[in-house]
Amino acid sequence: MTERKRASPFRTAMRRLLHHRLFILGCVLFGIVLFVAIAAPLIARVDPNKLAMRAKFRPPGADFIFGTDNFGRSLWSRVVWGARLSVLIGGAVVAINAVLGTAIGAAAGYFRHLDNGLMRINDALMAFPAVLLAIAVTAVLGPSVNDVIIALAIVYTPRTARIVRSSVIVLREMEYVQAARAAGAGHWRILRHHILPNAMAPLIVQLSFLFAYAVLTEATLSFLGVGAVPPTPTWGNIMAEGRQYMTDAPWIITIPGAALMITVLGLNLLGDGLRDVLDPRLRIQQ
């Protein structure tokens, strides 16, 4: 019985993942970022916006682990709270994407008469470079965290929708979908039971990379000054301010940069691992 239980697709995937070293490394890196983000109020008790002009430009040391910036604010607090914002924005964008992208992609792939309309709108949105479109949307909406989330969702949802659509187009022609139809299943039942569960693998992989893109684009927006307004502690904001003091106080720009790099690297390794395990074409080559 135990032998049989193990054959569930979910369990097989889990077992393979646990043997994938880079996936584990990705999980550890992203896990650290996630932990810091969640525990921010506990591990960074100093207000990230508290000014201390007498303590400005302190290098990393005993008093301030990561040093202080040009206003004497604790860089540790700012980077930790920045992690919280990055994870929040990334997570929200991924969640919106998962829901909207799946809905739009499934509708376009399954109901072919909707395909043309939905996909042309998609194409139009995908024609713009991501950052440019995000800047345009935040320019219209305004520079708050919520508006950044909406902007990034608008930028990345078309990509997700396209991936879901292509899986759905393949799956709707599968014999088991035809068989389900012959057994009297309706559209909703077919989508929910037969098509979407089988379309999940590429979507999960895409969403893990999307998290990284969202974090990176958010940092870009703040760095360019069109994201969340200063003094909100986002990594992009901290780096933008630190840029002027790069020669005298290099820690201000390098520490949030390293944090950003760890997050993106972790997510990419995690996504690569998921892809190795979930993509059946790659599995054959191994």
Binding site: M1, A182, G184, A185
Partner: protein, 323 residues
Amino acid sequence: MSLLTVSDLTTSFQTGGGEVTAVENVSFSLEKGEILGIVGESGSGKSVTALAIMGLLPRPPARIRGGSIQFEGQDLLKLSDRSMQRLRGPGIAMVFQEPMTSLNPVFTVGEQIMETIRAHENLSQKDSFGRAVEMLEKVGIPSASSRMTDYPHQLSGGQRQRVMLAMALVCRPRLLIADEPTTALDVTIQAQILELLMDLRDEFGMAIMMITHNMGVIAETADRVLVMYAGRVVEQAPISRLFDHPLHPYTRGLLSCVPTLDQDQERLIAIPGSLPEPSRRPPGCRFSSRCLSAVPACSEAIPALETFEPGHAAACIRIRDIA
């Protein structure tokens, strides 16, 4: 009244090269508990006929140009999508050719059968589980209740086809359409599945429409046979008549392709040429381009089905000359 009466069914497909007729003026009927075999080469219109009855032809590109399909007195072509959906399963069910891909890989066998039950009946989890186990036992799956938690890839081809049958039969359909149900299986399993189909027919009293290109399968199971060629019915006969006195040259050709044990043959006999593409069908009788008995008159008009014996009809103008 017959269970199923198809009359003058004509369907076509919109393709890049214009509209192509797949099935033309097909008529037949099926009684309760009867097994009707439909034979023909690939592309002769067998599966299109089946899908038209199920209401599963993708429209567009397919289009039903004429005719009617009466099932228990109602015209299926006039039913709404919703009532058609309710009919699939308890009314008409279908098993497909490929047991390897006809089951959803992410759900267990049990979940898939139970889902079919719950699509049509308001049963509790426990009751539908019981029904599914009972059905798996009926189709000959050993230790059915522990097999319920198996995923499709853990089953062999024959077992999967049994599961497919269980899924099709779990709502007790009055008509089962079996589209080449044994083609993908090896010979011993084929025989078992056919046996099982006949047993289930006797138990449930359902009619079966058996689509195949295998004369052996037809000989073993069917009560009556419909021979199709290039989208038209060319001969219709009770099973014994068809094998003893085939009328149409195409049927004769098909039967002489089957090697026999008592003749010492160097080579297999084959019908010359191949099935003409729908857009390049010859004028008149569609078989005329490959027929050994063809005369110029054959190309002038499409021959109508003509009854020669009670229940035995063929569409050929030369039958009296060549018989």
